[in-house]
């Protein structure tokens, strides 16, 4: 009996909480969708972004100086190297695909020849590895 009543109490409390949450969600959504919210957000974020940009530029230039003194590659050098590696990877990918296509083409050419040999009764040679030339 007592557990039933406490369960009922908690259910009622949950109902009150959920309906309060729903109202709060509608209110917040109306606020975050408004122009005034976007304007406030922009007013706060603009100086923060400006400061972050200046800080980033300053640390990068200080780091570049330090790395140059230590005769080490700068961040820019490493980033450029990475981009070049990606380009090389693309060229290798194209070459690999070209090789694949070439192999498929040559194996397609070999298959009719092998079938022709099979037709002539030379089954052993057709099933075996391709004969070496020269």
């Amino acid at each position: 009996m007592s557990s039933d009543s406490s369960k009922g109490f908690f259910e009622r409390m949950r109902g009150v909480r959920d309906s309060a949450m729903e109202d709060l969600a509608k209110l917040t959504l109306a606020w975050t969708s408004s122009d005034s919210y976007q304007a406030i957000n922009a007013a706060i974020s603009r100086p923060a972004l400006l400061a972050a940009g200046i800080f980033r530029k300053a640390t990068e230039s200080a780091m570049a100086d330090l790395l140059a003194r230590l005769n080490m590659p700068s961040r820019e050098d490493v980033l450029a190297l990475s981009q070049r590696l990606t380009r090389i990877e693309m060229v290798l990918d194209d070459l690999g695909a070209g090789m694949d296509q070439f192999h498929r083409g040559s194996s397609r050419q070999q298959r009719p020849a092998a079938r022709e040999r099979e037709g002539n009764g030379d089954r052993r040679q057709a099933a075996g590895p391709p004969a070496k030339e020269g």
């Binding site: 009996m1 007592s2 557990s3 949950r14 909480r17 949450m21 709060l24 969600a25 917040t28 959504l29 975050t32 969708s33 976007q38 304007a39 957000n41 922009a42 603009r46 972004l49 400006l50 972050a52 940009g53 980033r56 961040r75 490493v78 980033l79 990475s82 981009q83 990606t86 990877e89 693309m90 990918d93 194209d94 695909a97 694949d100 296509q101 498929r104």
Partner: protein
């Protein structure tokens, strides 16, 4: 103590101990997501093409492979959330040969990677590998969110590349009804300086993207989700599901700076795709060039990509075989929610299976 209360005490203790164990689990561990066996068949920079291990014999499998392309700012593991609730697992069981293009996590060196790189460098190469690996000259493509946008650009720029069917899930393509799109208001030029953000960070940071998406429904995202967890803390099944989704949500990734800039300027602000003025690497994107069979799936309760952003696209493409599928659900819940396995997945399978032979 009344006798009935004394009898209930062991049950209460066990419930409390389950709640404590579940709370410890969600606060101290990451849920294991993306568990379906797969192999890497191609990589380029951070992008990886996976092939999922088929579970159906060759003769019962659909001959045309299916490539999944997810968005750029979240991990693709949402497509394979957890055993029993995985779209990939479902597709494998239905006999599809499933490939997934994972874009990876861009680093500072990828800040100049733009949509042209994704659509004309990465995607065609991954597709070339898929075709050579599967031995099929044709393929089907399923894109979700920005993945759907990239797939649309690809389908219109390379219509003769063997694409048989295209499935778009919650695709942000049409920005005509600017006022109905919450993210468009948020990124309006009066309030959001995209160049300043990229000057400060290089790439668009994952935290900012996540914050922006969550602020579209702040109470639900910052409070409601945790209250749901608290209410069901003694229900391990619900907790495991929440934990898997939370692990995925909190694992956002940055978006390459140049691609993000194009996305904001050319799509959110310029609406260039629909206006017919979009160019990618100097090539004009013409939606009438999309000739593959098209299924456009829309979530009726999607607040990130509201229906108005993609429902009109059907009239603009050149495909003769096209269909609009409106389903109940939000941007992610549509495909990864508890009802997805009963509603969205079977409908997609029914459409796709006819076009995979």
């Amino acid at each position: 103590m009344p006798a009935s209360d004394a009898a209930a005490a062991p049950g209460l203790l066990s419930r409390l101990s389950t709640m404590a164990a579940n709370l410890t689990k969600v606060t101290t561990t990451r849920a294991p997501i993306g568990q379906t066996p797969r192999q890497v068949i191609w990589t380029l920079n951070k992008a990886t093409l996976f092939r999922y291990t088929p579970v159906v014999r060759d003769e019962r499998r659909h001959p045309i492979p299916l490539l999944l392309v997810f968005a750029l700012m979240n991990k693709s593991s949402i497509l394979d959330l957890r055993p029993g609730n995985s779209f990939v697992e479902f597709l494998l069981q239905k006999g599809y040969d499933v490939y997934l293009l994972d874009w990876g996590t861009p680093g500072p060196e990828d800040a100049q990677t733009d949509l042209g790189d994704y659509v004309l460098e990465y995607l065609p190469r991954a597709i070339r590998k898929l075709k050579s690996f599967s031995g099929s000259a044709e393929f089907n493509l399923l894109g979700w969110c920005i993945g759907a946008m990239l797939s649309t650009l690809y389908a219109s720029l390379r219509p003769s590349d063997g694409l048989k069917s295209l499935i778009l899930l919650t695709a942000p393509l049409d920005f005509t009804q600017h006022d109905k799109i919450s993210l468009a208001r948020m990124t309006d030029e009066r309030y959001f300086d995209v160049d300043r953000v990229l000057q400060a960070f290089g790439n668009m940071p994952a935290g900012l993207i996540d914050y922006g998406a969550k602020m579209l429904k702040p109470v639900e995202n910052f409070v409601g989700g945790y209250l749901r967890l608290f209410d069901n803390l003694d229900n391990t099944k619900v907790v495991d599901s929440w934990h898997a989704m939370n692990t995925w949500v909190s694992d956002a990734i940055p978006l390459a700076g140049a691609a993000y800039r194009q996305f904001i300027l050319d799509f959110y602000r310029g609406n260039k795709l629909v206006k017919g003025t979009l160019t990618v690497r100097g090539e004009k994107v013409d939606l009438r060039q999309v000739r593959a069979s098209l299924l456009n799936v829309i979530g009726e309760d999607d607040h990130i990509t509201p229906p108005c952003q993609s429902e009109g696209i059907l009239e603009m493409v050149g495909s003769a075989d096209k269909e609009l599928l409106r389903l109940p659900g939000g941007h992610i819940g549509l495909m990864a929610g508890s009802g997805a396995a009963k509603v969205a997945w079977p409908k997609i399978d029914a459409w796709l299976s006819e076009r995979s032979a």
